[in-house]
Symmetry: C2
Subunit: 347 residues, 2 copies
């Protein structure tokens, strides 16, 4: 007999007890004598028996599974950061006894795909889900939350009200941008451009707003023609800066990118235009990417801890699944300036 086809009835028969007793042994009920328990355990181990997962859920258990949905149209998945995110969610869930069903969403406009994603919830295949890379207030996520499913999101607007089944993790982007602008200001820079992130993702506009606030705090002007659009990817950083260099009338003395990937792309475009970093222009990133210390020049950036963030999000998600009401459903990570070589004092 294939071992996987053994069920609790078989075990009961071989141990000479009833199926109920087998169940009681497996689920550690107190009222079963040591002798009986050992006899049953021996048969269980001999046959590598483990109670059928689906049947167990059928009789009222949770699936102990969460969905991890990676949303992206870009080739972002070759990014080591994405990898760290996935890994961290899995390890964090595993630590709490949960499994992770990972799903990749290339196109949120594809009805078949989205039906599939939603069905994962409707079929009660998972107890909750985490969405990474989704647009701020993506309709299908709002729908899931409205239907009562527990959902965790990253990089979304923290509204005033708190909802019982929505968990959010963010970084303190306003503070981070202030740290960056303050540092550039301290180096003597007064003419600073900003490469803005995807307006659909919350951190894009929020970082832009942080940039504005920090600039105005120093009485500096924010020039709209020095706000360069991007979508957070290395390629968009490259293309946007390449195009911007052609149309801009004059150059700033420093550029503050919305993240390090974009800064990598910007650096490439600047190098190709024979603009030296940091000689001609200082360049600052955001996120402190693993490669930032390795590239030339090493990128000055704002460090954030994605591992902590995903760990907290996963923890709060599972807590919400299990007890339905939790103290805090939000995590806001701190930011820290990391000084390397790409920003230098104004000559």
């Amino acid at each position: 007999m294939k071992k996987s086809e053994i069920n609790s009835t078989e075990i009961a028969r071989m141990a000479g007890v009833s199926r109920s007793t087998v169940s009681r042994v497996i689920n550690n009920y107190p009222n079963v004598p040591q002798a009986t328990r050992e006899k049953v355990m021996q048969v269980i181990e001999q046959y590598n028996y483990a109670p059928n997962f689906s049947a167990r859920i059928m009789s009222g258990k949770r699936t102990s599974t969460i969905g991890l949905f990676m949303v992206s149209r870009e080739e972002v998945f070759n990014d080591s950061l994405t990898n760290a995110l996935i890994t961290r969610v899995i390890e964090s869930a595993s630590k709490r006894g949960y499994y992770v069903l990972t799903y990749i969403i290339r196109n949120t406009k594809d009805d078949d795909i989205m039906r599939n994603v939603k069905n994962t919830f409707y079929q009660q295949r998972i107890d909750g889900g985490i969405f990474i890379g989704a647009a701020n207030h993506e309709p299908f996520i709002e729908e899931l939350i409205a239907d009562g499913f527990v959902v965790g999101v990253v990089d979304q607007h923290l509204e005033g009200r708190s909802e019982p089944n929505r968990v959010i993790s963010n970084f303190n982007n306003l503070e981070g941008m202030r740290q960056g602008v303050d540092y550039l200001y301290s180096l003597g820079h007064r003419q600073i451009a900003h490469i803005a992130g995807d307006p659909l993702r919350w951190s894009g506009p929020e970082k832009l707003e942080g940039f504005r606030q920090a600039m105005e705090a120093h009485g500096l002007q924010v020039r709209s023609d020095w706000i360069i659009p991007s979508n957070f990817s290395e390629r968009s950083g490259y293309q946007s800066v390449q195009h911007w260099l052609k149309v801009t009338k004059d150059l700033p003395t420093a550029i503050f990118a919305c993240n390090d990937s974009v800064a990598f792309g910007a650096l490439r475009a600047l190098n190709e235009a024979d603009i030296n970093v940091p000689g001609d222009i200082s360049l600052m990133g955001f996120d402190d990417h693993l490669l930032s210390a390795r590239i030339h020049p090493a990128l000055t950036s704002i460090h954030v801890d994605f591992s902590d963030m995903m760990d907290a999000l996963t923890g709060k998600l599972i807590e919400t699944i299990e007890v339905s009401s939790t103290d805090s459903k939000r995590y806001v990570g701190t930011t820290e300036l990391v000084i390397r070589d790409s920003c230098q004092p104004l000559r």
Copy 2:
């Protein structure tokens, strides 16, 4: 009522039919008239009803889920390659209507963890599993295969006999090593060292064997003190070469690393010892890592396609799950020399 708590009985009641009819509509049975079908479908869509996943499996369906088990004690997971592997398996499975349960195994000697991994199979939570990074013929994998579960592995010895429920993907390492040695020979190199991979993983010894065969084909000597051990990681490449530089009596003119990560580490160690690549020593990698074209000097390597490999493995795994007997349960990927800057003609 929470939408997720609606079941087929409720749907049947609201549509004014029996539960059987609802089931027939959902599973596209032919013998239900169009009028009835539409009425039922309308109620289903109105309530976002989807049949309970566990209950469905209970009555004989497959789980449509495969496990992806990443084995590693190293920090390898920050590697963009690992990320590409995970992504590819997920997308390949998704294309075939399967979900992926990802699991990370940091320590194959931890009994709790391994019990957990094996239970994923015994509980019939997954229809099959893929192991990446496992040692060649890891006992617990052999046990699973012996118990009748469908398992896919990467980088394991292709035995003569073919087993019904084991699927394997490899690269043609012998050929790849030959291509590398041939190229170095053509550049005039006669004194070539090899940084060997983890002996527990099949490709380590196989690449070493390929190196031996290719060297002997040219009548070249393989010096045992020029076989430098590593475990495939960047760090081990750095540490091994650093140590080797201290003890070696004389230097070769070229080094052939077992993979690019190790070559990155070796490059770092060589640079720190003021040995110029490719000026003093030529360096060749294997795998054609994403970063290889970007580092300085750009690394000459043996290109392999991990995406194709994982796609094939996942496809064959699912095919095996579904039809139990398949034409081929093996994939051997081709190798191709990619010439960049790190190998130069011998002066």
